[in-house]
């Protein structure tokens, strides 16, 4: 059965709802809020700007920052070189070279896994596509570099992430899907922040996953 449409005359409706409180007090209340903010800003109670890089804004927990390649418990990459990320990548910035893994149950691992950070558009499709949660994102966004070559992140750079405690984990939609946990303790939230580029330290503990065993339920 077709229901008759209800027609609302906008002008009639406006006149009906019109009142002194709405027409006069409303703008005054709004003006009060504006003046309040102005006073706060003038007195320094609230700052619209922050003193970057000494101060930083808190980013959302699912920010799409620089990628992380996660590791198995033994420290080897979880990645099985399936190319799902490279296939999904709209920027064509992931280069993988697979190799034969000695364990037939793993079968395949990346001998090379490079992400061209200058090409990357940080869309996170690679993370969505990954069936192993081998690639996730951090909240790291400061990727400045002095040379072109430094922006080409290889497997080692993607796995050892000294900056991570600073920024924390980012976009990680498949956390539940793969049933894995990341052993990672974020640093205490101190106000002190480093300015400038963080240099890469060689011997940093990798981020380990609990290995997912398909033979167990």
């Amino acid at each position: 059965m077709k229901r008759a449409a209800k027609v609302i005359n906008v002008r009639d409706q406006a006149e009906k709802e019109s009142s002194f409180a709405k027409d006069v007090l409303g703008p005054l209340v709004g003006m009060g809020l504006t003046i309040n903010r102005m006073v706060d800003n003038l007195t320094g109670k609230v700052n619209a700007t922050i003193r970057y890089p000494e101060e930083r804004r808190a980013y959302s927990g699912r920010l799409r920052g620089a990628h992380i390649l996660t590791a198995r418990e033994d420290g080897s990459p979880r990645c099985v070189a399936c190319y799902m990320c490279a296939t999904a990548c709209p920027a064509d910035c992931i280069y993988i070279e697979p190799a034969e893994h000695p364990d037939p149950l793993i079968e395949k691992y990346p001998a090379r896994f490079d992400i061209d950070m200058l090409r990357c558009v940080f869309c996170g499709f690679c993370v969505d596509a990954c069936p192993e949660e081998a690639i996730i994102m951090s909240r790291e966004t400061e990727l400045g570099a002095y040379t072109r070559a430094e922006t080409m992140w290889d497997i080692k750079r993607l796995m050892s992430r000294p900056e991570l405690p600073e920024f924390g984990l980012g976009y990680r939609p498949n956390e539940k899907l793969v049933d894995s946990t990341i052993k990672f303790v974020p640093k205490n939230k101190e106000k002190k922040r480093l300015a400038g580029r963080v240099t890469l330290k060689e011997d940093v503990e990798m981020i380990a996953h609990v290995t997912f065993d398909p033979t167990k339920d």
Binding site: C82, M84, P104, E107, K108, P214, K216, D217
Partner: protein
């Protein structure tokens, strides 16, 4: 010719055809794993079950021969439910390791799951039967027993096509697995075919393993240039590199098969360095690079000088049985019409005399060149010279002063090939002037006066004439290296350089001229050279 009703439509089948074949002829694909057009019928996968009126049970379409008046449905709910059930059964013990499986993207399990399945698995992972993975079965094949759907195509291939019977089922019930006795390697020359016919990722190619995910590849139809059989193939390539070559079905030539030598022959293209630009020997005896225009001007002028001094019969055209018909045709046309040359030859070694000799009863021929028959049909053969030895003698006697030589590295190398190259050096050394057209660099190019880079097989389109005179078209798959040009283009430019009309813009144009001017090719059209090819009338 029995008529029957298929999904409500009355269609005609050929006598003795099974339902699956007749349906395929009318564009209806009945899902299947074990059925293969070139293997005996087995009927074990049960995916092709169809509903035939008056039969109480669903019947497999691959084993049931069409009878007059049969009423078959492959699309009713009963059939769909059955197919879905069989698919679910096939997947319960399948490891579903598609991310690391090379077959992903061209896997029948994936394809049919998307059409008939789309179910959620009801078996917990721990309940699956585990079998062995990554079993090395020799130079061509890697076996994964878990991914197998036990269709027995590989077993039937070795039993019925090669007759070697290496593979068999082992075990019983849901523990059945395919394999070879004690994991012995598959070392017969056709073992690579089981990778092609395996509908899932159980048998994968050792050579192609992990090289590239298949959805990145572009496919080009071609003809194998490994020997004179002329098997139909498909070249899979990406970014200008060939990743694999697989068989294309041509019931008239290779059915669905390809030999291992041929399958891997494309590697020969990248094994040695390529000639990337024309070069000419200076007065100091050293080869220096030169532009195409200058090179062709120089070649045309020098050859004309020699003709004027010694007559056209002093110029030898030495073709290659690995070149396309189009290239050889313009090569001969330039030398005869512009220079009046009369001497032509292409035979480097005695292998070429075995054009018709079979190496085995399945596919391979002894002659490892794709177009020997084409060279013969185009008349690049001289009873007088009878091969390169005669040419060397003639050059020594002074009857031949100059030669235009086309040489391609054979894609399937034989020990005799080095010796053959030695003969070319001998010939060049006896000549006053020599022009070499080659795709790959060789030490002996230093002795030639001019070296011109040409495209190799897979980098140009053209037709090849196989041992039985079947003309088949091979398309261009990848770009050539450097400045290399197809042979027909080189000679089209030479004809232009020598002042004659030259209007060929493609291999197809040259083919059209060839059918007008060359008697053996006179009655065929370009369209006919597509699958399955056209056999030349014997002269």
């Amino acid at each position: 010719m029995p008529k029957f009703t298929l999904n409500g439509q009355e269609v005609e089948a050929k006598a003795g055809q099974t339902i699956i074949q007749a349906a395929g002829d009318h564009g209806i694909e009945i899902p299947h794993y074990c059925y293969h057009p070139d293997l005996p019928i087995d009927g074990n996968c049960r995916m092709c079950l169809v509903d035939v009126e008056k039969m109480p049970k669903l019947t497999p379409a691959c084993t049931t021969i069409v009878n007059e008046g049969m009423v078959v449905r492959s699309d009713n709910p009963r059939v769909k439910e059955a197919v879905r059930g069989v698919l679910e059964f096939l997947l319960i013990n399948h490891p579903v390791d598609c991310p690391v499986c090379d077959q992903a993207g061209e896997c029948r399990l994936q394809d049919y799951y998307m059409v008939y399945g789309l179910h959620t698995s009801e078996i917990p992972l721990g309940m699956k039967v585990r079998k062995r993975k990554v079993i090395d079965l020799g130079p061509m094949v890697v076996l994964d027993q878990e991914r197998c759907v036990l269709c027995s195509r590989c077993i039937r291939f070795f039993d019925n096509v090669t007759g070697t019977g290496e593979m068999q089922f082992f075990g019983r019930g849901d523990h059945v697995a395919i394999g070879t006795f004690e994991d012995r390697p598959l070392d017969n020359p056709y073992s690579g075919n089981v990778v092609d016919i395996c509908p899932v990722g159980a048998l994968t190619s050792r050579d192609f393993r992990f090289k590239c995910r298949v959805w990145f590849l572009h496919a080009t139809n071609s003809i194998c240039a490994g020997c004179s059989t002329g098997c139909a193939t498909r070249i899979d390539h990406r970014d200008g590199a060939i990743f694999r070559m697989i068989a294309r079905r041509n019931p008239e030539v290779n059915r669905s098969w390809l030999c291992d030598e041929g399958r891997l022959s494309f590697h020969e293209l990248t094994r040695s360095e390529r000639v990337i630009q024309p070069s000419i020997k200076g007065s100091d005896g050293v080869q220096t690079p030169i532009t195409w225009e200058d090179a062709l001007q120089s070649v045309d002028q020098r050859l004309k000088q020699i003709r004027d001094a010694n007559g056209g019969s002093s110029i030898l055209g030495f073709g290659s049985p690995s070149a396309t018909n189009e290239g050889l045709f313009l090569f001969k046309r330039y030398l005869t019409e512009q220079l009046g040359a009369t001497q032509f030859e292409f035979r480097i070694d005695s292998e070429d005399k075995k054009v018709l000799d079979e190496e085995d009863q399945i596919l391979r021929h002894f002659d490892k060149h794709p177009n020997s028959m084409g060279a013969i049909k185009l008349g690049l053969i001289s009873d007088d010279l009878d091969g390169i030895d005669g040419a060397i003698r003639a050059a020594r006697d002074g009857r031949i002063k100059a030669a235009v030589i086309i040489y391609f590295n054979p894609l399937v190398r034989r020990p005799s090939d080095d010796e053959a190259e030695g003969r070319i050096i001998e010939l060049i050394d006896e000549l006053k002037y020599s022009v070499v057209l080659a795709a790959h660099k060789a030490d002996w190019h230093a002795s030639a006066d001019v070296v011109l880079p040409v495209t190799a097989w897979s980098e140009e389109e053209g037709t090849y004439t196989n041992f039985e005179g079947r003309v088949q078209f091979a398309a261009k798959a990848i770009e050539s290296a450097g400045d290399a040009l197809p042979i027909w283009e080189v000679f089209a430019m030479l004809i232009h350089a020598s002042g004659a009309e030259s209007r060929w813009m493609s291999a197809e144009n040259v083919f059209a001229t060839m059918t007008e001017r060359s008697q053996p090719y006179s009655r065929i059209t370009f369209e006919q050279t597509q699958l399955p090819g056209v056999v030349l009338a014997s002269s």
